[in-house]
Structures are given as structure tokens and as C-alpha cells.
């Protein structure tokens, strides 16, 4: 048995569980929502920002794909549709930005795709565009900071793969009385944002966000799969450590 084989077993097990549970879980209440207060505050801050005519910023991170965090870029695009509802975009106060050309292009595709699906005429308006403030983390920061400082900020939502420079965005948004919600994917951003952002998702919690924003049975199947595999992994690690201690491994 090799490590590669164990990896394939975990992938196969996850696929099987995900597929099976997607069909089995039909009842919404079978698996409880986590951190509802945090999500409620995010939704409330966005609603309050719309009512007060303040800006809402959605940041999609710096990379669509990276070696260390391969799923984060794709994940951030899964979150975006939840921020494209008619109420959020109709007043032109929402901004979607990213630090990678491909992320921004995909985001724009999603915005226009939503319009084509007849979802909201407001999305046709040029007021909602995906923006690239800069192609590197620091050039993005240099472009984004003046944007945050210009108008009163209602909410700042951070998703995807970004670094400790996010602390600067948070401070800028705070100065303009904006409420911050962050799903910090990278270790650096988790460490820097833990100090300033109370509504912060870290580690695997980040990947639960689509399910938290729109709780469907399929999203819950994903959570349940993650939880099952996590328990199995924990047991395997403990078992491996015991075997190592007794000299078998």
C-alpha cells in the first residue's frame, strides 16, 4: 500500500459519499447551518449599505489557481452568484474586483451570464463590472485603497486567495465605517485578519461559505462529506501516530 493509493482511496470515498449523500439528503433540516450569526451580520450589513446608499465591495482574491491552495479560486467563483441578486446590484453601489485577469474575466462572464438568464436588468448596466485594480497583490492594494477611501463603505467581503495585505484593505474600509466579512483562505491572511475581523472564516470553513449563503440540500451533502472524511482522516492520523510510537511504521 502506497501513499498515492491511500490518496486515491480518500478521493474515491469522498466522491462516493458526495454522490450518495446528494441523493439521500433532501430534507433541509437534517444538517444544521453553522455560524448563522456571522452570515446574518453579512447579509444585514449589505442590506443596511443598500438602504444608506453606501458602497459594497466584493474582492475575489489574487489568483484563480495556485499550488498551495488549488481550489480557492474556483471556490470564490462559486460564491459570487450569491452577491448578484437584483437588490445588491440595482443601485450601482456594488463592486466586484480581483487581482488576476482570469478571475476578473470569469467574474464578468458570470455577471453577463446572469443577465442573459433574465435574472436582472441591472446587471446589464455598466455600473456593475468586475474590476482589476492591479495584476499583483501590492499593485492591487495600491489601486484598491484609494477606491475604499473615496466613498463611505457599507460592507467589504473578502474571498479567495489573498495575503496579509488584506489588513490594509480592512483598515481602510473600517476608517470609512464599513463592516468587514472575510473568508481567509491562505495562512498569511488568516493570521493577519484574525486580529481585526470578528466575522472571519478560516481553514476548511472557507469552503462551506456557498452552503451558508444559500443552504440547499446539495451544499449540506458537501458539508456532511467533509465532516465524514475529516473524522476518518483524524482517526487515520491518530492510528498512524500510535503505529509510529510502537515502531511498526
Amino acid at each position: 500500500m502506497t501513499w498515492s493509493f491511500i490518496g486515491w482511496v480518500i478521493i474515491g470515498l469522498s466522491a462516493g459519499l458526495l454522490f450518495g449523500l446528494s441523493f439521500l439528503i433532501k430534507d433541509f433540516d437534517i444538517y444544521q447551518i453553522r455560524w448563522p450569526a456571522m452570515i446574518s451580520r453579512l447579509i444585514a450589513s449589505r442590506a443596511s449599505a443598500i438602504e444608506q446608499g453606501k458602497k459594497r465591495q466584493v474582492v475575489l482574491g489574487h489568483q484563480l489557481w495556485s499550488h498551495t491552495y488549488p481550489g480557492l479560486g474556483l471556490h470564490t467563483l462559486s460564491v459570487l452568484p450569491d452577491f448578484l441578486d437584483p437588490e445588491s446590484v440595482v443601485d450601482g453601489g456594488q463592486s466586484v474586483s480581483g487581482g488576476d485577469g482570469s478571475l476578473v474575466v470569469f467574474a464578468r462572464q458570470m455577471i453577463t451570464g446572469r443577465y442573459r438568464d433574465g435574472f436582472s436588468l441591472a446587471l446589464q448596466d455598466a455600473s456593475l463590472e468586475s474590476k482589476l485594480y492591479g495584476p499583483t497583490p501590492l499593485s492591487f492594494t495600491a489601486g484598491f485603497l484609494p477606491e475604499l477611501g473615496m466613498d463611505p463603505q457599507g460592507s467589504l467581503a473578502l474571498f479567495g486567495d489573498y495575503g496579509p495585505e488584506a489588513a490594509l484593505w480592512v483598515e481602510a474600509a473600517r476608517t470609512r465605517h464599513g463592516r468587514v466579512f472575510a473568508a481567509a483562505g491562505s495562512i498569511d491572511s488568516q493570521a493577519s485578519l484574525f486580529m481585526t475581523v470578528p466575522d472571519l472564516l478560516i481553514g476548511e470553513e472557507v469552503y462551506m461559505l456557498p452552503g451558508l449563503l444559500s443552504p440547499t440540500s446539495k451544499n449540506r451533502a458537501g458539508w456532511l462529506t467533509e465532516d465524514f472524511v475529516r473524522i476518518i482522516l483524524i482517526l487515520m492520523i491518530v492510528f498512524g501516530a500510535i503505529l509510529k510510537m510502537v515502531g511498526v511504521l
Binding site: W8, I10, I11, S14, A15, L18, F19, S22, W65, Y69, P70, G71, L72, L74, H75, S78, L80, P81, D100, G101, S102, V104, V105, F106, R108, Q109, G113, R114, E129, S130, K131, L132, G134, P135, L138, A142, G143, P146, M150, D151, P164, A167, L168, E171, G185, I187, Q190, M195, P198, I202, G203, E204, V206, Y207, M208, P210, G222, T225, E226, V229
Partner: protein, 204 residues
């Protein structure tokens, strides 16, 4: 029909790449081709992104929005870098000096501001998060790490204290490993959800 086509393309490519890990030798030429296409598409998307950046700044300038001055600076810097790069080529030492001597000080100053911001926010940690077990643990481990990394602390090797220090120094690594395992698990489920057509971010 268009959506079905997209789904078929995603599923075919996804499963081929996944199968490539099992049958590496057999699928190597096909995988190389797929990765080349992917890199090419990402490069084109990057170029389009730069186009968006310039378009956004030109629009700001045309509409005379707030902060139009910054847009002028961006456009001038972009045109200057593009033209000088095309004329001198990026391999030219003069071009590299010219660009890096602007870029590095600007980025270093931003990093300096970031360092000050992080110190300031760490001082406000308890005020923003309160005296919770997490905030106390975070603060204590940060201070302990800083103290342990001071160069003048020298402990004789092969003593119980040295082993204790080694254990404490390795604790953050264990935490990072745990978080990365969780992230890998989340990434795995996201990938599988796309492959099993449960999530379709490309189909929005």
C-alpha cells in the same frame, strides 16, 4: 444546448486530468496538450484583464470621477512601461533598472505601511475580539514566538529544556499542517462537486 456542451467539456477534461494521475505514462502527451491550452487561455485572460484595467481607468477619466488623477498616473505609467518594454525588450538591463527602481521602493513602502498596520491591529486584538480563549491563545502564542525567536536566547543542546523549546517551536507548524489538511479536504470536495456537476460556476 450550450450549457450541456460546457458541462461535457468540463467533465471530459476534468476526468482526463484526474485519470492522468493514475495512467501518467499513457496520458502524458494529452495532458501536456491540455495544460498548454490551459496556460494559453490563462495568458489570454490575463491580457483581457489588463485591458479591463486600462478601460476602467479611461472610463474614470472620461466621466471625471473622483480619483481621476490616480487614473492619469496609472495610464501614463502603463503606456510608458509598455512602450519602453517593446522598444528596449524586458531583457534590457536599463529597462529592468528603470522599472524595478520604481516598483521595488513603491512595494517596499506599502509593505512598511502593512507592518505598522499589523502591529497596530495586534495591539487592538483584545478590544476587537474580547477576552476569548482564541484571542488569548493567539496573543500568547504570538508573544511566545517572538521571544523564542530572539537571537540571544541560547539553550544548551541535549537538555530537557532544549527539547521543550524544540517542541514549542514546532507547535505552529502542527497548527499550519492541520489548517492545510482542512483546506485540502475542502479543495477536494469543491473539485469533486464541480466534477460531479453539483456546482457549476462556469455555467452561471
Amino acid at each position: 444546448m450550450k450549457k450541456v456542451l460546457v458541462m461535457v467539456v468540463v467533465l471530459t477534461i476534468g476526468l482526463t486530468v484526474l485519470a492522468g494521475y493514475l495512467f501518467r505514462a499513457l496520458l502524458a502527451p494529452l495532458l501536456a496538450l491540455l495544460f498548454d491550452w490551459g496556460i494559453l487561455l490563462a495568458g489570454v485572460a490575463g491580457l483581457i484583464g489588463i485591458g479591463y484595467l486600462i478601460h476602467m481607468n479611461l472610463s474614470k477619466l472620461a466621466r471625471r470621477e473622483k480619483g481621476a488623477f490616480f487614473s492619469v498616473v496609472v495610464i501614463i505609467a502603463f503606456v510608458f512601461t509598455l512602450v519602453s518594454g517593446l522598444v528596449m525588450t524586458p531583457q534590457s538591463p536599463f529597462f529592468r533598472d528603470l522599472i524595478l527602481n520604481v516598483q521595488i521602493p513603491v512595494e517596499a513602502s506599502l509593505l512598511g505601511i502593512l507592518a505598522v498596520t499589523l502591529v497596530y491591529t495586534s495591539l487592538r486584538l483584545v478590544r476587537s475580539r474580547g477576552w476569548t480563549p482564541m484571542s488569548i491563545a493567539f496573543l500568547a502564542s504570538a508573544i511566545l514566538s517572538l521571544i523564542l525567536n530572539l537571537v540571544f536566547i541560547n539553550i544548551p543542546t541535549d537538555t530537557p529544556l532544549s527539547y521543550l523549546m524544540m517542541f514549542i517551536r514546532r507547535l505552529p507548524l502542527i497548527g499550519v499542517r492541520g489548517i492545510l489538511l482542512g483546506m485540502a479536504l475542502g479543495g477536494l470536495v469543491v473539485g469533486l462537486r464541480v466534477l460531479l456537476m453539483i456546482d457549476r460556476p462556469y455555467g452561471e
